[in-house]
Amino acid sequence: MVKMPPELAVSLGPLKLAHPIINASGTFDVLEADKILEADLFHDFPFAAYVPKTVTLEPREGNTPPRLYETPAGLLNSIGLANKGIESFIAEDLPRLRELPAPIIASVAGGRTEDYGRCCRLLDAQEEVAAVELNVSCPNVETDGRALGSDPQQTARAAALARQETSKFLIVKLSPNVTDIVAVARAAAGAGADCLSVINTVHGMALDPWSLKPVLGHTTGGLSGPAIKPVALRAVYLVSRELDIPVIGMGGVTTSQDVLEFLAAGATAVAVGTANFRDPLAAARLALGLKELMVERGIGSVAGLIGRAQAPP
């Protein structure tokens, strides 16, 4: 076996990633973290691409607190897409994010299907933005308030409207809270998505141990962290097996071994979410650890590893 250093670089559509590890939307605010932490995050940026928190057309103040609660190996959150609105994002944040040494994947959501198109039109004009991710887990105000991502047709419509408005690399982020995630994935791809992010948080709830009332101000929330890793791995495996477009895998990624497994399950890139809260510099160690694991196991390249779990034994 020729001993070459393993190749970590990987292409995600037109995006050239130095390694396969990016952040999950809503879990790492580089502008805040760079202000607070001693680390120079703009130089030593740990992620191969940066996904800011989801923005919507109008600013949203988010849900009533408490918004967080830890569960066994998991975290429940009900942030409620608190954000400053896409216009402030473009005017205030994007100019600063341009300095990052990594491509930017803007994340957008909306209460109406057409919001996805309008957000994409605004972002299409921004050259700092390399790709757009549609977060379809936002409650839909046009219907019963359920996320439009729970319905293949509505997801397809949002993706199609977005596709009309942007030529940027278009990612649709799937919700796991559906009977058939592959059907939603197919609908998104059919409507023009270039890539799928798999998965958003899993519906859950917690009661306060003393009052026995729902802990979260919003009653229910989204579960993330290692607890959902098996749910995420399955979704990544099935979606990437059934569809021909790249998948960004996420859900519970905490160690380099987890990164290896999501790649093997079929992901082209892997996003770190909740683990950023455990240790905001964790991601910096993941790429290094991944390289070491690859050397140890004689895996030559990330590209060669993708989907290995799907090959016959």
Binding site: T27, F28, D29, I36, L37, R67, E70, P226, F277, D279
Partner: protein, 262 residues
């Protein structure tokens, strides 16, 4: 402290060098010279046992209770698995610590300082009292507790003028901190007005805010919300302030009492 003027926080793995019960609470001291040097009264850390264990998953916010050249001390009330695990720290255990974080109390005033603590909320007042005294300000402490087991923590304020109250009368006076508070807030003509520094449960902070407002004195209160990241990333720790939600981890945990909306 100016919320926009952050002291750079960093991540450390810190050995525990002392751990002792203080009534129902536990005081844990660990080596963290950088944090001890930078810590401002009222700031906090995010802390968990070092290592790969996933249970608990996330660090917990803990006030910096005291700090000297090398050591940082926290005072922990075990209320759930995260705090219980921290409270069980033994000498030699290693903690993963990020800090110092958040704004602390603004100590720049001149008037007599009235420190009001409720339960585990007395924790940050230890360093606050010491630092205020060093700056030559008069310090008076009003500390309320459920019962004697908690009230033992008043021993941490040995050097100060302390009023202890318990709800069940098992130690100190019977009652709540809002009873003696107004008596300490009289404004002496020609003298700088007293200032309140408070930390405790929401109900107590609400009363402290009301009384301070009625007496016309400034009150700074330190709030406790559920936190995941401690550095402004997750938007989980927000507290309602006039007009908007603000993040307790970066705009707080210390707020002007008047800013909060209850």
């Amino acid at each position: 402290m100016d919320a926009e003027n952050f002291i750079p926080a960093s991540l450390y793995v810190c050995p525990v060098v002392a751990s002792r019960p203080v009534g129902a609470y536990r005081q844990v001291a660990f080596v963290a010279p950088e944090i001890a040097a930078l810590a401002h009264p009222g700031q906090f850390i995010m802390v968990r046992r070092a290592g790969p264990a996933l249970d608990p998953l996330l660090p917990r916010p803990m006030c910096i209770s005291d700090a000297d050249s090398d050591l940082v001390k926290i005072l922990v009330e075990p209320v759930g698995k995260g705090s219980a695990k921290l409270a069980a720290s033994q000498v030699g255990d290693r903690l993963s610590v990020m800090g110092p974080l958040g704004t602390g109390f603004d100590l720049e005033g001149e008037g007599p300082a009235v420190l009001v603590g409720g339960g585990i909320g007395v924790s940050p007042l230890v360093l606050t009292a010491g630092t205020l005294a060093e700056r030559g300000r008069a310090v008076r402490c009003i500390l309320g507790f459920r019962a004697r087991q908690q009230a033992v923590a008043a021993e941490l304020f040995r050097d100060f003028d302390v009023d202890v109250l318990t709800e069940d009368g098992s130690m100190g006076r019977t009652g709540l901190v809002n009873e003696p508070l107004p008596g300490c807030l009289a404004i002496e003509p020609g003298q700088p007005a007293p200032e309140v520094f408070a930390c405790g449960p929401d109900g107590m902070l609400w009363e402290v805010a009301r009384i301070s407002r009625e007496c016309g004195v400034r009150a700074q209160v330190s709030v406790a919300t559920h936190m995941a990241c401690g550095i402004g990333s997750c938007q989980g720790c927000v507290i309602r302030t006039k007009g908007s939600y603000r993040k307790a981890c970066t705009s707080g945990p210390v707020f002007e009492a008047g800013e909060l909306e209850w």
